[in-house]
């Protein structure tokens, strides 16, 4: 928590090297193992444990296996309904994007700050609250659309910019608009995820600052300001959990829609 009565909500997003890897470099670039990288690895580990624990192939699934089958079946169903039969080829890609974003979002909300007496400065780090990570994920999705589209349709892929039934006297307007909306896709994908996570974490930090500061300035202010804010924080935390899931879902859903454009044109 910031000193001097001032809340610093941006401090939690600082990327810092860990374990003395500050000066590692490769070809002139610093490749220090940062807390961002650590939380990405943790997300992968959590996902790995979750998947290994549930991939059992029992005829009557137990609870864990049912959870894993629910997740894979959900992505499979999403691609089947949005892309069609050929969408199944993209299940691994979309499942990876969805589950990684979901895990990274959820791990960023872990309340491990309560262990701070044991390890000073300990705080969860939402790796998806950085444009670098979400930008790369969005480029992955956008790049796949381009590769699939050009591989399947060749230059006919450009007919994506001329929707069916466009009247000839609108030909000067519709293709540029469609092209613009196509090129904006990676930015909107990356920006949506990054801003939604950042905004949620800033909000929680500011509210937590209210609670701590009003609590430390006496019983009166603690009751008037701190207690209602704390109750609000519980609600907002639940909302943030919902936002984590919705943002991962929206990212996967939009990726599958864009893949549908690439596979089937429109």
């Amino acid at each position: 928590m910031a000193e001097g009565g001032k809340i610093d909500p941006m401090h939690q997003f600082t990327v810092e090297p860990l374990f003395g890897t500050t000066n590692w470099s490769l070809g002139g670039y610093n490749i220090a193992f940062t807390n961002s990288a650590l939380w990405m690895v943790l997300a992968l580990l959590a996902l790995w444990v979750f998947m290994i624990g549930g991939m059992r192939k029992q005829l009557v699934p137990g609870r864990w296996q049912a959870a894993v089958e629910g997740l894979t079946g959900f992505v499979d169903n999403m691609l089947a309904s949005n892309v069609g039969k050929e969408g199944r080829r993209f299940v691994p890609l979309v499942f990876t994007l969805f589950s990684f974003i979901l895990m990274a979002n959820l791990l960023g909300l872990l309340p491990i700050g309560i262990f701070r007496p044991l390890a000073p400065g300990l705080h969860p780090f939402a790796s998806t609250s950085h444009f670098t990570l979400t930008g790369v994920l969005a480029l992955l999705s956008f790049g796949t659309v381009l590769v699939v589209g050009f591989a399947r349709h060749g230059f006919h892929f450009f007919s994506l910019f001329v929707p069916h039934g466009t009247p000839w006297w609108l030909m000067w307007l519709i293709p540029p608009v469609e092209f613009f909306s196509f090129m904006v896709r990676p930015f909107s994908l990356a920006l949506r995820l990054f801003v939604a996570m950042t905004a949620g974490h800033i909000l929680l930090e500011v509210l937590a600052g209210f609670v701590v500061q009003s609590g430390s300035s006496g019983l009166l202010w603690g009751t008037i300001v701190g207690l209602p804010t704390f109750l609000l924080m519980i609600g907002i935390s639940a909302l943030e959990l919902l936002v984590c899931v919705i943002q991962a879902y929206v990212f996967a859903l939009l990726t599958s829609l864009y893949l549908n454009d690439a596979v089937n044109l429109h």
Binding site: M78, S81, S188, V195, A196, L253, L254, L257
Partner: protein, 75 residues
């Protein structure tokens, strides 16, 4: 006007955009529920479209939030 004051005022004005996007998101879900209650059997198949509409409405609010953050912390 002081440049710093103008920045903060601009950031505050950007909050209007975020609030209006909240109206938009609420509208998306309200209309979906309205339609879903009229024809519940068709509701499940339209959930994807619900979230597309939600994502589009939400993005504009998030953009105004970005403007506010840029004004306060970057500009």
């Amino acid at each position: 006007m002081d440049a710093e004051a103008a920045k903060l005022l601009g950031a505050g004005l950007a909050a209007i955009g975020a609030g209006l996007a909240a109206l938009g998101v609420g509208n998306v879900f309200a209309k979906f529920l309205e339609g879903a209650l009229r024809n519940p059997s068709a509701a499940d198949s339209q959930q994807g479209r619900l979230f597309i509409g939600f994502a589009a409405a939400e993005l504009l609010g998030l953009l105004s939030f970005v403007i506010a953050v840029l004004l306060i912390f970057v500009a």
